[in-house]
C-alpha cells in the first residue's frame, strides 16, 4: 500500500508531463489523484487503528527493498503514530490546493505535475525509515518548491526569493547529510536504517562526536522548520509564492523539519538530546516570542501569517526540548503529543490562512492591510471564514490549535517551568496580532477605494478552505480522533529519549 500512496502522485505527474493532456483534464487529474491519496490515507488510518500489519518494531505497512546495499541503505518506509497524521495531513492539504487551483490559468499542466511531484516527496519523507531515503525526499522537496516559487510566483523578486529559499534550505540539507554520515560511521554494523539505528543508538558515551552530529542534524532541521535565527528564507519565499505554493510550503514542508526532530534527532541521539535539551527549549521560546512580535509589526498580511508560523513552530521546539528534561513522564508525554498535534493543526490552519491571503491578492492586488478595511460589508463570507481561521490560529478552544498549545504549555511547565511560563505570553501576542489584522482588513470603515471592490469568496475557494477549518474544529472538539494515534507514539518517543 505504501509505495502506491507515495508514488501515485509522481506517476500521474509523469503522465501529465509526457502526454499532451489538455489543461482542464490535467487539473482534474491532479484533484482526482489528491482525493485518491486522501482515500488511501483514510484506509491506512482505519487499518492502523485496527492494528493491521503492525510489525514487531512498531511500524505498520512496512516496505523494505534493497537499494544501495553497499552502504547499508534500503528503500525502507513504514507508518507509525508520528507519521500517520502527517501523511493524512499531506493528502488533505494537497487536495485543498488542487481545489483552490482548479481555475489555474498559467501553465496549468506543469503546475499540476509539480504539485503532484511535491506530494510524492512529502509523503515519501514522512514514511521514510532510512536516512538516505529521508534525505533524498528532503532535497527533492526543495527542488520542487523552488520551481513553484520561481515559475508561478508573483512580484518582481520571485526568482531572487526562490533562489534564497533554495540555497538556504539546501545548505541546511548538506548539514543534515553530514549528520547522517556521522550516524552511519558511528553505527556498528554501518547502516542508514532508522529503525536499526533507533534500536541501538550509536554515539553513546562521552566524546565530541555525538554533540557534533546532533548539531549538524539540528542545524539542517532548524533551517527547514524554521526557527529563529534561521528563518530568513521564509518571509520572502511566502510573499512571492503562489497561494497554493505557500499553503504547501507552510502546511507541509515546514513539518519536514519538526518531523525530523521526532523521527531522527530524538530517538537516534537520545543522550545528546537530553544533554542539550535546554538549547532547543531556548530556541523554541525565542521563536515563539520573536515570531509573534515581528508578526505584530507587519502590514503585509501574508508576511504576518508567515511570521506566525515561526511562532507556532517555536512551541513545537519548546515541547520537544522539554521532553528531554527530567520530569514526570506523563507531563512530557503530554508535551510531545501537543507538539505532534501542533504539526497537524498548523498545517490545516496556516494552509487555510495562506489560501485566504491568495484570495485577498486575487481581489485587491495587494497584501497591504492598511489599504483595505471594512471588507465585511462587501465580502461577509470572506470576513467570516478569515475570522474563524484567525481564531483557530490564535489557539481558541474548539479548534485544533488549542489542543496543541494547551498540551504543549501544560506539559512543558513541569519540566521547564520558566520557559513555558514565558512562552505562554505568546498566546496573548498572537491574540492581539490576529485581532488587529482582522480589524484592519475586514472591520471599521473602508480605508481606500480598493476595499469597496473586493468580491466575496467563490464556491471553489470555499470548498478549498472550509474543509481545512472543519478539520481543525474536528480535532478541537473531538481530540481523540487524532490522539488515539499520537499518544502511544508520544509514549514510545518519551521512552526512547529516556534511554
Amino acid at each position: 500500500m505504501m509505495p502506491v500512496l507515495i508514488f501515485l502522485p509522481a506517476a500521474v505527474a509523469a503522465v501529465l508531463l509526457l502526454a499532451r493532456v489538455p489543461d482542464r483534464a490535467a487539473l482534474l487529474a491532479w484533484l482526482g489523484t489528491s482525493l485518491a491519496t486522501v482515500g488511501i490515507s483514510v484506509g491506512l488510518w482505519a487499518a492502523y487503528l485496527a492494528g493491521a500489519r503492525k510489525g514487531a518494531d512498531g511500524f505498520a505497512f512496512e516496505v523494505k527493498v534493497p537499494w544501495i546495499p553497499g552502504v547499508g541503505s534500503s528503500f525502507h518506509v513504514g507508518v507509525d503514530g508520528l507519521s500517520l497524521p502527517l501523511l493524512a495531513l499531506t493528502a488533505v492539504v494537497f487536495t485543498a490546493c488542487a481545489v483552490y487551483s482548479l481555475r489555474q490559468g498559467q501553465r496549468p499542466r506543469s503546475y499540476a505535475a509539480l504539485f503532484l511531484a511535491l506530494q510524492t516527496t512529502s509523503l515519501g519523507l514522512f514514511a521514510a525509515l532510512d536516512l538516505i531515503v529521508f534525505f533524498v525526499f528532503f532535497d527533492l522537496s526543495i527542488v520542487g518548491m523552488y520551481f513553484i516559487i520561481a515559475g508561478w510566483g508573483h512580484g518582481p523578486g520571485r526568482r531572487r526569493s526562490a533562489l534564497l529559499f533554495f540555497l538556504y534550505t539546501f545548505v541546511g540539507s548538506l548539514a543534515l547529510l553530514l549528520g547522517f554520515i556521522g550516524l552511519y560511521v558511528a553505527s556498528d554494523p554501518h547502516t542508514f536504517d532508522i529503525v536499526a539505528l533507533a534500536a541501538h543508538p550509536p554515539l553513546t558515551g562521552p566524546g565530541p562526536a555525538g554533540p557534533l552530529v546532533l548539531a549538524a542534524i539540528a542545524l539542517g532541521l532548524a533551517i527547514k522548520t524554521p526557527t529563529v535565527p534561521f528563518h530568513t528564507w521564509l518571509p520572502p519565499a511566502h510573499t512571492d509564492a503562489p497561494a497554493a505554493g505557500s499553503a504547501v510550503l507552510a502546511g507541509i514542508l515546514l513539518k519536514m523539519g519538526t518531523f525530523g526532530f521526532v523521527r531522527i534527532a530524538m530517538p537516534l541521539l537520545p543522550e545528546q538530546w537530553r544533554a542539550y535539551a535546554w538549547v532547543f527549549i531556548g530556541v523554541g521560546v525565542a521563536s515563539v516570542l520573536y515570531g509573534a512580535l515581528v508578526a505584530l509589526a507587519q502590514h503585509n498580511f501574508k508576511r504576518l501569517v508567515a511570521f506566525t508560523s515561526v511562532n507556532h513552530m517555536g512551541y513545537i521546539l519548546l515541547a520537544l526540548g522539554a521532553a528531554g528534561l527530567l520530569g514526570d513522564d506523563k507531563a512530557r508525554e503530554v508535551a510531545v503529543s501537543g507538539a505532534m498535534v501542533q504539526m497537524v493543526s498548523h498545517g490545516l490552519i496556516t494552509a487555510a490562512l495562506f489560501l485566504l491571503a491568495g484570495v485577498l491578492l486575487d481581489r485587491g492586488g495587494s497584501y497591504d492591510m492598511n489599504r483595505y478595511g471594512g471588507l465585511a460589508a462587501v465580502a461577509p463570507r470572506f470576513a467570516a471564514v478569515t475570522a474563524v481561521a484567525a481564531f483557530a490560529s490564535l489557539g481558541l478552544p474548539g479548534f485544533s490549535g488549542f489542543i496543541a498549545e494547551f498540551q504543549i504549555l501544560a506539559g512543558s511547565l513541569g519540566p521547564a517551568t520558566p520557559a513555558a511560563a514565558v512562552a505562554a505570553l505568546g498566546i496573548v501576542l498572537t491574540a492581539a496580532l490576529m485581532l488587529w489584522a482582522l480589524h484592519r482588513l475586514f472591520l471599521g470603515a473602508p480605508r481606500s477605494q480598493l476595499a469597496t471592490t473586493v468580491t466575496d469568496l467563490r464556491p471553489r475557494e470555499l470548498w478549498a478552505i472550509v474543509p481545512l477549518l472543519a478539520g481543525s474544529v474536528l480535532i478541537g472538539l473531538y481530540p481523540q480522533s487524532l490522539l488515539d494515534v499520537i499518544t502511544p507514539a508520544a509514549h514510545t518517543l518519551i521512552t526512547m529519549v529516556g534511554r
Binding site: 533562489l163 534564497l164 540555497l167 538556504y168 535565527p229 530568513t232 528564507w233 518571509p235 520572502p236 520573536y290 512580535l293 515581528v294 505584530l296 509589526a297 507587519q298 520530569g327 514526570d328 513522564d329 506523563k330 507531563a331 503530554v334 503529543s337 471594512g374 465585511a376 460589508a377 461577509p380 463570507r381 467570516a384 481558541l396 478552544p397 474548539g398 488549542f402 489542543i403 494547551f406 498540551q407 504549555l409 501544560a410 506539559g411 512543558s412 511547565l413 513541569g414 519540566p415 517551568t417 513555558a420 511560563a421 505562554a424 505570553l425 498566546i427 496573548v428 491574540a431 492581539a432 485581532l435 488587529w436 480589524h439 472591520l443 471599521g444 470603515a445 481530540p479 481523540q480 490522539l483
Partner: protein, 631 residues
Amino acid sequence: MTGVLWALVLVPAAAGGALLAAAFGPARFAARVERAAATSGVAVAAGVLALAVAAAVNGPRVAVPFLAGEPLALAVDGLSAVVVVTVAAVALLVLTFSASSVRSGRARFTGLMLVFVAAVLVTATATTLLGLLMAWEAMGATSYALIAFGWREARAVASGTTAFVVTRAGDVGLYLAAGAALAVAGAAAPGLSLAGLAALPAPWLHIAAAGILAAAFGKAAQLPFSFWLSRAMDGPSPVSALLHSAAMVAMGGYLLLRAHPLLVAAGWAAPAAAWGGAVTALVLGAVALAQTDLKQLLAASTSAQLGFVVLAAGIAGPGAVGAGLAQLVGHAATKALLFLAAGAWLTALGTKAIPALRGAGRTYPWVGVPFTVGALALAGIPPLALWATKDSVLAAAREQSLGLYVVGSAAAVLAAGYSGKALALIWRRRPAHPAGADTGAVTGYDTEEQGTRVVPWLSRIPLIPLAIGAGVLGVLVLPAASRALGLDPPAVPDVGELAVSAVLALAVTAAALCWPSRLPAPGCAASWLHLERAADAGIVRPTLCLARVLARADDALEVGVFGMGRAARRAAAAAAAVDRVGVTGAVRAVAAGVRRAGDAARLSQTGQLHHYYAQAVVGLAVAVLIVWLAV
C-alpha cells in the same frame, strides 16, 4: 439524568452555531433566518432555563475522555445549580429584551449570545481545569464578537480587542495552573480536577493559586484589569446586561468561590483575593461616583460589586462562600435590570449621558420604576437584595479582619452615593423646552444614535421579573434558603450591623438624591484611574515598539542574507580576477623569470678558458671566505 446536563450545554451551543452558520449562508435562506432569529433565540433560551432548573434539581454529573487521559467533566452541585439557573434566567430575559432592541444582524447577535450562554454554562459546571479553560476562553472570544457587534465602528472593534486581549492575559494563568496540576508525578497526582488543586504539593500549589487568581481577576474586571470593562461599554446594552452582570464578569468571582479551598490551602492567596476584592470595591466605587455616563457608572459599579464576591472568596472562615454566592446572584439580577433600563433609554432617547437622561424616569415610568428598584438595591437599601447579601459578606469578613470590614463598609457607602446620583437625575423634572425643540442640540438626546422615543412592551416586560429578583433575592442569606438549596449557609450579620448599614445607606442615598451635583468626582476617578492609559504606555506601546524594532532588525537580517549572496558573487568575481591576473600572471611571471634566469646562466658559458679560470678563482675565494667565517 446525564442527558439533561448534556442538553443544557449542547442545545444553546448547537442552536447558536446553526444561527451563525445560517447568517452567512445563501442570501434567501439568510433572510428567512434573520426574521426568525429573535423568536427562536427566546425559544431556545426558554428551553435552556427549563433544562437548567431540571439540572439544578437533579444534580447530574457527566464525563467524557478528552485529552491527556483527562476527562471533560461537568457536574451540577449546590454552587453551580444556583449559578446555572441565574444565568439561564437572565439570558432568557435579555434575549426577550433584544428581540425588540436589536434591529439588524439579529441572526448573528442571537447566535453569538447563545454560544456565549453555552460557554458560561460549561464554565459554571466544569469540574476540571480543561473544560473550565475551554469555556472560559470561548466566553472571551464571543464577548469580543458581541462587544464589536457594530463592527463598522472602529472604536467598538478596538474595545472588543481590548477586552479580549486583557482578559486573555489573565487566562494565561489558567494554562499555568493546568501545567502545575500536570507537573505532579506519581499516583498522588490530582490530574486536572478543580477540586484536587488544593492538594497539590508546594511549588505547584502556589503556581496554581496565582494562575487562578490572575484569570479570575482578569475576567471579573478587578484591579488592575478593570479598564477593559469600561471599553466593553461600547457594545450593545443587552450584551452588557448579560455579559457584565450575570455571566462573564460574574464567572471571575464564581471561579474564586469554586477555588476557595485552593486559595485557603495556598495561604497567601486567600488574603490576596480578599484585599484585592475589597480595594476594587472601594476604588471602583469612587470611579462609579465620578462617571457622567450611565453605562460607565454601571460598569464601574459592576467591578466594585464583584469586589465583594472576590472578597468573600478570600475569607477562610465559614459562611464566606455562601455569602459570596448570594452577593453574586443578587448582583446579577440587579445589574442586568439596570443595564437593560439604560439600554431601553439609549434606544428611545439616543443617549446614555446622565445629565441628558434627566427626567427619563418620568417620561418612561415603565422603565423608571424598575430602574429605581434596581438602583435602591444597589445602594444597599433594606430590604432589597444587595443590602442583605453584602452585609453577609461583610459579616464574614469581620470575623477575619477588621480592616477588610472597614474597607468593605466604605465601599458600601460609595455604592449608596452613586446609586443615589443616578436616581436623582432620572427623576428630576426636565427644564421646559419650547415646543418642537426635541432636537439633540437642545435636549442632549440622539448623541449616540437616533432615538426612537418609544420603549416597546417587549423591552418593558423583562424588567419586571428582574426588579422582583433585585427586591427579594436577599432571602438567599437566610439559613432556611441555603438549607433548601443544599449550600454552605452564608454568614449571618447581627442585627446591629444590619441596622447600621441600613441607616448609612439610607442617609447617603438621601444626600445623593438631594445634592447629586455636589458629589465628589475627582478627575482620575472619572477616567478610571488612567488605567487604560497606563496599560497603553506601560505595556502596549513598549510591546509595539519592540515589535517594530525587531521587525526592522529582521528586515536588516534579510538584506544581510541577500547581501551574502551578492557578496558570494562578488567574491567569485574577485577570485576570477585574482585567477586571471594573479595566478595566471604569477605562473607566467615564474616562467619568464626562469627563462631569464636560464638566459643569465647561459652568459657564463662563453667557451673561453680564461673566463672559466677566473670563475673558478672567484668560486674558490668565496668558499675560503665562508670556511674562514665559519671557523
